[in-house]
Assembly symmetry: C2
Homo-oligomer: 245 residues x 2
């Protein structure tokens, strides 16, 4: 019922943030900004993040069959040079991936010269505010790990944040996960989309969206799966279920 | 006599490339393009390249006293993050270094957000052509090690090349230096400025300019000197002598 209404308002491009008091716990629940930057945003986005360990050809082979089911592909290639990331982007585009789906970590310059969707910034990257001001065509996202960081990112003009890690994950050993309650708190506290990351399996994708995330970001859950296409379809299936709540 | 003529033509902003047949060997000798991008170019430029091993504060302290004597400061900080290079640039500017003197290695995005002079590209960087097309306000240079690379850089629109290494240097152990003859050959073969790098001491600066380089690039010769200011003054002294040939 709730999601039927959200979908309805989206279809009519009503801009803004709509608040609902859910029955039961009266949790103040925010629905994602319906229109942002001229584009309709729908809940349940699936972001794929590259592992940084695969060769370009290997990654392109995997992505060729799954990209139609994925909303955004983040190239998080910390050890690759600008030239290598540029060549990886060219390969993905030649494989059929729309540039509008590609987001490059850290390197705004590579994102600009390849005309892809955007750049994703981390704590070691350039300030969000300057990147937004300088590269006006780029969607600019930012990794955050607390309410304070999320609020700063929003104030600086970030288009979205990636928040995590939500569940225990091998890539963050020994670190206490943020959990759904903190995800819900962050999502309610800022008005830009929150993408949840970290240990998200297909079966708990719907819970994550239910807690207020606009989407989920997955790395090994897809690229480390025996059958990446099947994994993507499972994520999609659970993300779609959320619409029927 | 020759240099008096060059200086004279520069003072009158005559654009283009002037050729001379020198007496003796009738070597076709090229004088640097007099006007390029609206700026008068003079032979004998002194480029300083950071070592990549110094902390920002340490580098800023050294540069504070010497930058008035230096034409360009290249930040070649391969292991530093975008944020760290950005903060280094901010520190240098706050120290009094004009942004128009600062060139950043590899990271065109950092150069753009800090509004500095340009970006210097290496073999592992983005293609010169794309960087020139995308970031029109940046001066774009390129490291080259052969005639072929120099010609490609020129064709792709590079504003200058850095060519080397000219003499034996500790930073290129075991590699045969290019030497003055090859520098002269490269300088005659392309019409953009050639900056010579590698093992250049104050006493041979004039020879390097005499071989056709528009300037020299120095790293340890200044930043590794016991007295960097004295070293800069020595380079300047020998570079000035060249004008009196």
């Amino acid at each position: 019922m709730l999601y039927s209404f959200i979908k309805h308002t989206q279809n009519h491009s009503i801009a803004g943030v709509v608040f609902f008091y859910l029955s039961g716990d009266f949790l103040l629940r925010k629905v994602i900004s319906v229109k942002k930057g001229g584009e309709i945003l729908k809940p349940g986005k699936l972001h794929l993040i590259s592992t940084g360990t695969q060769k370009s050809e290997q990654l392109a082979d995997m992505i060729e069959s799954i990209h139609p089911e994925i909303d955004f592909i983040h190239l998080r290639e910390k050890t690759k040079t600008a030239k290598e990331i540029y060549e990886m982007v060219e390969l993905l585009i030649n494989t059929g991936v729309p540039p509008s789906k590609i987001i490059i970590n850290d390197r705004a310059d590579v994102a600009c010269v390849t005309n892809v969707r955007g750049v994703h910034l981390a704590f070691h990257s350039l300030p969000v505010e300057l990147v937004k001001q300088t590269f006006k065509n780029l969607t600019v996202g930012c990794s955050v790990h607390s309410l304070e960081e999320a609020q700063i990112a929003e104030q600086q003009g970030a288009d979205y944040v990636i928040f995590g890690h939500i569940y225990s994950t091998q890539s963050k050993p020994g670190l206490i996960p943020q959990g759904l309650a903190q995800l819900s708190f962050i999502s309610q506290s800022i008005s830009i989309p929150v993408i949840a990351v970290g240990g998200i399996k297909p079966a708990n994708s719907a819970d994550v969206i239910g807690a207020g995330a606009q989407g989920i970001a997955v790395m090994s859950g897809i690229l480390g799966a025996k059958n990446p296409l099947k994994a993507v379809q499972q994520y999609r299936s659970y993300l779609s279920k959320q619409y029927d709540v």
